[in-house]
Amino acid sequence: MTDSLMATARHVVLRAEGLAKSFGPTTALRRATFELRAGEVHALIGENGSGKSTLVKILAGVHRPDAGQLNLGQARLQARSPSAAIRSGIATVFQEVQCVPAQSVLDNLWLGQDGLLRRAPIAPAERRDKAAQVLEDLLGTSLDLAVLAGSLSLSQRQALAIGRALLRDPQILILDEATSALDVATRDRLFTKLGQLTAAGKAVLFISHRMDEVTEIADRITVLRSGESVATLERADATPTRLVELMTGGDHLVQPDAARRPEPGPIVIGALALRKGEIVGLAGLEGQGQDEFLRALAQHQNVRTAYVARDRRDESIFPPLSVRENFTAATLTRDRKAGLIGGSQAAARFAPYRDRLKIRLGRDKDPITTLSGGNQQKVVIARALAADPQVLLLNDPTRGIDIGAKRDIYALLRELAATGLAIVMLSTEVDEHLELMDRVIIFRDGEPAAELPGTELTRSAIVSEFFATGAPRPEPAPSRAPLNGSSYTFLPVLLTLLLLIANVAAQHSFLNWSSVIVTFAELATPALAAMASTPAILGGGIDISIAPLFTLVSVVIEVMLLGHGVTNPALVIAVAIGFGAALGALNGALVNYGRFQAVVATLCMTFILSGVALGYAPAPVSGTTGWLTSLGTTEAGIPGGLILIAVPLAAWYALHRTPFVRTLRAVGGSETTAYTAGVNVAAVRTLAYALGGAIAGLAAIAIVAQLHQAEADSAFVTPFILMAIAAVALGGTSLAGGRGGLIASVFGACVIFLIQNLLGAVGVSSFWSEFCYGAILIAAVLFAARTANKQKVKNSSGSSFAGPWIAARKASR
């Protein structure tokens, strides 16, 4: 009694009032109201699709509410981005484990705290100490901070994400299903930590599926149902029955009715003793092997199975295609008449399913994305049924759909079982097992651990099986982070050395000082073009307009500066770099603020930039001046080309002293992690494009110094486009972003240059050297892909530079 009095006396730190949010046709949140008090753990519970995650994303600054008000203390909270929410003291851990696999534990923990170019004022030693401390609190043991996050176990990676939030020292900590990926011991240590936080007056918003966890640590509990907050209970009033009643609206009658169906028929799948007409549930905590088990069943050879995947958006629907096309995807050949697919046939096949599954839709020619989540899922199930399976396999099919659609699906499944179909269904909701299953198999530690027949199905029986102790899962040995990225540059360095030897062998004069000078002068432009292409790629984008960009800058130098007698080196170099950076920034803004696909936007810029360059220089424009001529040969005894190559490398090295390069790699490695950690992703990427443009400005100086002229003809420019990207790939920089660097690209350019030089020296025609160059490029990207696969970087949720193919391919690996 005194406890609850004290609780009410505590001040409210966050108040949400009538929050609402819709995504297209789906209303995710209708009216959510609750208050969070200082010093409490406040649990938010609700069924799948009740709007919990949407509410969390609003609080975390990811989404903006359509209606309603959020107050933080006395002030109105209008977080327009995760970084704004973090600044106002709200740190969030998301359900999807957020980490950058290719970066160290330490970098992952401090991600997002530094500015664009300025470090947060925390000493390196303090960073290490705090990081070690927070990990030890969560994991119980210390963890090598230099290890790559990708080599950690799922539980450790989630601890990393929680640690990142804790290091923010937030007033409000939000944990969205953050415990589902944790092992039991780590979870208990987290709960202890939460106790310390609330004792210090901080507030915790705790979202979990697990009733036992909620009743264990929550002071108060708010229940969401169909996007509305229906009640807030004190812990003492929150019995499981009451909570279930609130979550389901009271009409959720658990009816394990053994006599509802005829006896199961003959066995269909031996391993499972699966019989016709029975519904078998697969249950367990997240990641206990039930998912893999179900997928393995889908590969069963002798039985016709149909599989409904878990992730509706990424694995089930074809977003741009119509409802009908989504329906026929697995049964295309049935609509074929004399080799051609007829629309009327598909429509006729779909009609009965539409009625039977109560699919609500306008016309079946409308895109599937116009349907609500529940109706989309019904279409997906209809697709599976259309293939006449003997066994229907469902992977958490009611995840994130509204309660009405759930009921329709339950009814359908019962009906299907009654007609003799065998059904295996993985579900993350205990109630679903009670409601639907004839028996439930519970998974622990990667294998089926227990089986409960329908007569013994109770909530407590299932949940206690979840937590029954099994053998602890062996943790994989973490691998150390590569030292300064030396591993990926090894191959191009080796190739460069071998090719150098081969070049000397083929042409003994290659090492003469005069030819060394020429070599550097010729190498400078390709090396600079390759370096210029690198920053955008590191950040997960691409700029294919680098070659026309430096061509245009070279034209500007020749026509506008040298042509008008302006030869001051400081001015010319400043104009070249500044103009290049401005054009690069324009590309970056198009991609990151205009949301154009990187390849498409920079392709358009390729046209525009080459057009402008050609307009000013329809024919090559010649001209040079004293210092440019010496840059093309030697300056103070040093080959000018070497100086030009060294300048961006030195600048890049200097940039390593700022957080920029590390943040850029994090953005390229996993943009969602960087974004939710509070990194200004668009600004970081745009700066990378500008940096590339600035280096391209130097490339313009290099080409003018080498050739004493500027040329804008496409036959001259196009090879550089291909070469620059090839050099980056050959250098070992991942074209998907996140790994690599400028030096790698220089070696990539060296390899290409030396190959062409060697082939020229031994008298191979330029066409055969082109052949070799293409073959080596393909071999290099193949090799890079193989090594990346071997490293097996887990949980790569980053996006791709040009759109769907990499994202899709990553997912399918």
């Binding site: 990811v62 998301f94 999807e96 599989y307 995947a309 990424d314 694995e315 074809f318 977003p319 741009p320 295609l321 096309e325 026929t328 995807a329 697995a330 050949t333 080799g339 051609l340 697919i341 007829g342 691409i542 294919i544 205009g594 949301r595 696909q597 390849v599 498409v600 392709l603 358009c604 046209f607 525009i608 057009g611 402008v612 050609l614 307009g615 943009e671 969602t672 974004y675 992703v681 291909l722 790939a729 025609s765 082109e770 052949f771 160059y773 293409g774 073959a775 490029l777 393909i778 990207v781 696969n789 996006s799 530079f801 759109g803 769907p804 193919w805 899709a808 391919r809 997912a811 399918s812």
Partner: protein, 331 residues
């Protein structure tokens, strides 16, 4: 307040929905461009306005057909130019100079295209490589191997009947339409039929719309990728063979004058990466790009302005059609 905004939003959505179903905007733009050229020349005759646009559009349209398939799949093909050059050079040299049998040379071109394209598509899919890089590499390999094997290939001319086939003055069965244009129309009908009404066509859309979902629905997506890239190479090779009659003599640079304009035709037509679009849109796009070239010729502003206009037009088209999802929607 929301109630006030609703009706205007609705009409905007309806227009957008109508535009998705039918490329109305493109038709209007094309009509405007053609009318402008006609008005500027003061000549709307078949021979001076329509036939030249159709003739040049047909080469671009054929060359861009493969790119359409590959972009529908969610890829890109930067080796279009190389297969075009291969088709062009082998025909001009082997048929034109060495007097080989045309069918034999056509088979040779077909083999090169199927092997090269299929290989590129297969490794992109199998190892998750970036199509941009792989096709750039294949491009060098194909041109290098074809020309490198015999530098004399650069001399030659297409066979006479092919010149007739692609000449503007030629007629199709007495109708004053150049045979190449008729050929393009037939090709467009076939490609459209395959895409819309056959199982392989549907599989292409499914794979492009969602690789994982297609895989789970039983589509062998590796085969789809390999076949689409092979088809792209074959169609580019075909355009090259046709060009052997149109232009005199082989030219290794002929490819680059079709790669980027071809890509422009696909994008301007409204086909976007990942399962949205069709070949008829690309045909419209090819005609728009061609007509735009005519406008630029009429304005007499030169190749430089042409490129700037292309770039701007592409940006505008992509801005109207899909852009990337916001970062917040990807969390």
């Amino acid at each position: 307040m929301t109630a006030l905004i609703q009706p205007r939003l609705a009409t905007g959505h309806q227009l957008a929905a109508a535009q998705r179903k039918f490329p109305l905007l493109q038709v209007l733009v094309l009509a405007a461009l053609v009318l402008y050229v006609g008005a500027a020349d003061g000549d709307f005759s078949w021979n001076d306005l329509w036939a030249p646009i159709l003739l040049q559009g047909s080469f671009l349209g054929i060359a861009a057909a493969g790119q359409t398939l590959v972009i529908l799949l969610g890829g890109l093909d930067f080796s279009i130019g190389a297969y075009l050059v291969a088709g062009n050079l082998l025909v001009t040299h082997l048929v034109g100079l060495e007097h080989w049998n045309f069918a034999l040379v056509a088979l040779l071109v077909l083999a090169i295209c199927v092997l090269g394209g299929g290989f590129a598509g297969w490794i992109c899919h199998r190892f998750g490589l970036e199509p941009l890089v792989v096709t750039l590499g294949m491009s060098s390999v194909v041109v290098g191997a074809v020309v490198g094997s015999d530098a004399k290939l650069l001399n030659g001319a297409g066979p006479g009947w092919l010149t007739d086939f692609t000449a503007q003055s030629s007629k199709t069965f007495g109708v004053p339409i150049p045979p190449i244009v008729t050929f393009w129309i037939v090709l467009a009908a076939i490609v459209t039929l395959i895409l819309a009404r056959t199982v392989p066509g549907r599989r292409l859309y499914l794979t492009g719309a969602s690789l994982k979902a297609a895989e789970l629905a039983g589509v062998r997506t590796g085969r789809v990728w390999a076949s689409a890239y092979a088809a792209s190479a074959v169609l580019a090779g075909l355009a090259g063979v046709m060009l052997a009659g149109f232009s005199t003599g082989g030219d290794t640079n002929v490819g680059s004058s079709y790669l980027f304009p071809g890509l422009a035709a696909v994008i301007v037509g409204g086909t976007l990466m990942g399962g949205r679009g069709d070949y008829l849109r690309t045909c419209l796009g090819a005609l728009i790009v061609t007509a735009l070239n005519f406008v630029i010729a009429v304005l007499n502003v030169g190749a430089a302005a042409a490129q700037i206009v292309f770039g701007g037009l592409l940006l505008a088209t992509v801005a109207v059609y899909g852009r990337e999802r916001r970062l917040r929607d990807r969390v």
